[in-house]
């Protein structure tokens, strides 16, 4: 063996590095120019999506925006009218059972067989897959250990949803589709579900999530895309979506009685406005500087600034601006 040639170990290391490098950037879902029409009505109008291995991708949009249609095309349930779709390197419309064993699905609604117990149902599904996770371990992961011998008809709505998640995970999939997984959950059940999803990411799973809850997307997602009327209107991380990172901060407070807006420091009056609730709102690019000026002004005059708040637009504010009342018109 000459010195120039890499040793077996080096080659292994090199290979490992390659695999890791590819894994980090590899597309699990790749969509370009996707269109879907029902007769004259085009519900998906040429969208592009890219989901990378190991990330949580949140797909947001109002009802009727084409969200479910898109997800069902990716899951292999629906055909497409035009465009390219690749999920785990295969076309879902033509994929077979080997491909299905690599994905897990939580559909929007599914009633569980009332005659079977939690354990029987999870065991049944485990039998469908070539390399299933452990049944007991999966039941534990979704927090249904106490209910494992209960018939599914005795479960609450939230418990049924958790069972649904267990069935999606039992095949140890690389990619999990979660279609509104926490709809109808109480707050503690939602936080438990978030932990489960966060654990999945730790295991290196790729997660495609649709949700109506912006706090859910904020808490879980690495990347977000918003679909409105069949088109993607914004893409990015939850922090940067729709220019959220560059958006102005909002400082609001009540003016001391007998003080008028024009008495504020000059550099602040330009951005100030008084709203119907009597509060003053300042829209500023640099909140630290504005607060410094404002606080100095108040201290100098010996005044209190009642109910001072500093806020940045939440993901929900951005989402509402992007979707602009679509939720009600569709």
């Amino acid at each position: 063996m000459s010195a120039a040639e890499p040793s077996i170990i080096e080659r292994h290391l090199g290979l490992d590095r390659d695999v890791r490098a590819r894994a980090a950037g590899v597309s699990v879902i790749s969509v370009s120019g996707l269109r879907k029409s029902y007769g004259e009505h085009e519900v998906v109008r040429g969208i592009d999506l890219e989901v990378h291995r190991g990330e949580v991708f949140a797909f947001l949009g109002p009802n009727g925006a084409g969200k479910t249609t898109t997800v069902e095309i990716l899951e292999g349930y629906r055909s497409r009218s035009a465009g390219e779709v690749s999920v785990l390197e295969e076309d879902p419309a033509a994929a077979g059972s080997a491909w299905r064993s690599r994905i897990g699905l939580v559909l929007q609604s599914c009633t569980m067989p009332p005659e079977l117990t939690v354990r029987e149902l999870v065991e049944l599904y485990a039998g469908y897959y070539p390399h299933p996770r452990g049944v007991a371990e999966t039941i534990e992961l979704v927090g249904l250990v106490d209910k494992r011998d209960a018939r599914t008809k005795q479960l609450s709505g939230g418990q049924l949803r958790r069972l649904d998640v267990a069935l999606a995970l039992i095949g140890d999939p690389e990619l999990v589709f979660l279609d509104e997984p926490t709809t109808g959950f109480d707050p503690s059940a939602r936080h438990h579900a978030w932990e489960v999803i966060a654990n999945l990411r730790e295991l290196g799973k790729t997660i495609f999530l649709t949700t109506h809850y912006m706090d859910e997307a904020q808490a879980l997602a690495d990347h977000v895309a918003v679909i409105v009327a069949g088109e993607i209107v914004a893409k990015g991380t939850p922090e940067t979506l729709g220019g959220r990172d560059r958006a102005l901060s909002d400082i609001s407070f009540r003016l001391p009685s007998g003080t008028s807006l024009s008495e504020l420091p000059h550099e602040l009056t330009a951005n100030a406005g008084r709203r119907e609730d009597g509060r003053v709102h300042l829209s500023v690019p640099d909140p630290a500087r504005a607060l410094y000026a404002l606080a100095g002004w108040a201290l100098e005059r010996g005044e209190h600034l009642d109910s001072l708040t500093v806020g940045r637009p939440t993901l929900e504010d951005i989402y509402l601006r992007l979707t602009d009342g679509q939720e009600h018109t569709e």
Partner: protein
């Protein structure tokens, strides 16, 4: 898991679900037995058919077997298909590696197995409690009629299920179809008292022919007891239904 083990895995679960379902237990398993006991208690005595003296109960065994077969392989199966489709179970299963043919094949097999078991049970009760004797020579006719009947009515179930849009209407729709046909097909009453025009209507449908195909080996006991024409008509219904089912079958719920 090999393909056969996978099918057996699914079949075991489907059979367990059949047995745990109260509707299946009461209507498909208990009801035909109750009917046989009632008819046998109500109509006593003997008569001579083709030179052989038989109990009146013997006339009712083929009819109640027809009821048992159709209940298991058509009424119960149709309700199961519609319920599982509307619940989203089929859609979910289509998202797993379980082959589509196993999803429906396993549940159909439950219908056929229950139909065969019910036929055997009814024959056993008839023999032990009411001295209903079937010659060995016509047993092939009985076996063939049960199998062809169960298979054909399973196919009809898959064709009809597509026409039913909700789980709530599956039971009334299937019962409303078969109950009148039981009466005019001579399943519950002697054919001789059914008006000719009703009998003519009944001869179009497969229930009458399945009943005839069972009467042949149980009551008339000629030759091997195989009623070829009746069985061919039942099989033709099954094959036609299968062709329709293959073209129209739906996996996703109609509602939503």
């Amino acid at each position: 898991m090999s393909r056969w083990r996978l099918f057996a895995h699914q079949f075991r679960s489907d059979l367990l679900r059949f047995w745990r379902n109260p509707q299946s237990r009461y209507f498909t398993v208990a009801l035909p037995i109750v009917f046989l006991v009632i008819f046998a208690t109500m109509f006593k005595g003997t008569t001579v058919v083709d030179g052989r003296r038989i109990g009146i109960t013997t006339f009712y065994v083929p009819g109640i077997m027809t009821l048992g077969i159709i209940s298991a392989s058509f009424v119960n199966l149709t309700q199961a298909i519609v319920t599982q489709r509307e619940n989203g179970e089929y859609k979910r299963l289509r998202g797993t590696p379980l082959p589509a043919a196993f999803v429906i094949g396993s549940r159909a097999a439950v219908g056929v197995v229950v139909a065969v078991a019910m036929s055997a049970l009814l024959l056993a009760i008839g023999r032990l409690a009411y001295s209903v004797r079937i010659p060995h020579s016509t047993m092939p006719g009985v076996v063939l009629a049960v199998i062809v009947g169960a298979a054909a009515f399973s196919c009809i179930a898959f064709a009809v299920a597509t026409r039913i849009s909700s789980a709530e209407t599956a039971a009334p729709a299937t019962n409303l179809t078969v109950l009148p046909l039981y009466f005019i097909s001579g399943v519950f009453v002697a054919e001789s008292i059914i008006p000719t025009f009703l009998r003519n209507i009944a001869t179009f449908f497969p229930i009458h022919h399945l009943d005839e195909a069972l009467l042949q080996p149980v009551v008339h006991t000629h030759g091997s007891g195989i009623a070829t024409t009746d069985l061919l008509i039942v099989a033709a219904w099954g094959i036609t239904a299968l062709l329709i089912a293959v073209r129209t079958f739906q996996w996703s719920p109609r509602s939503g």
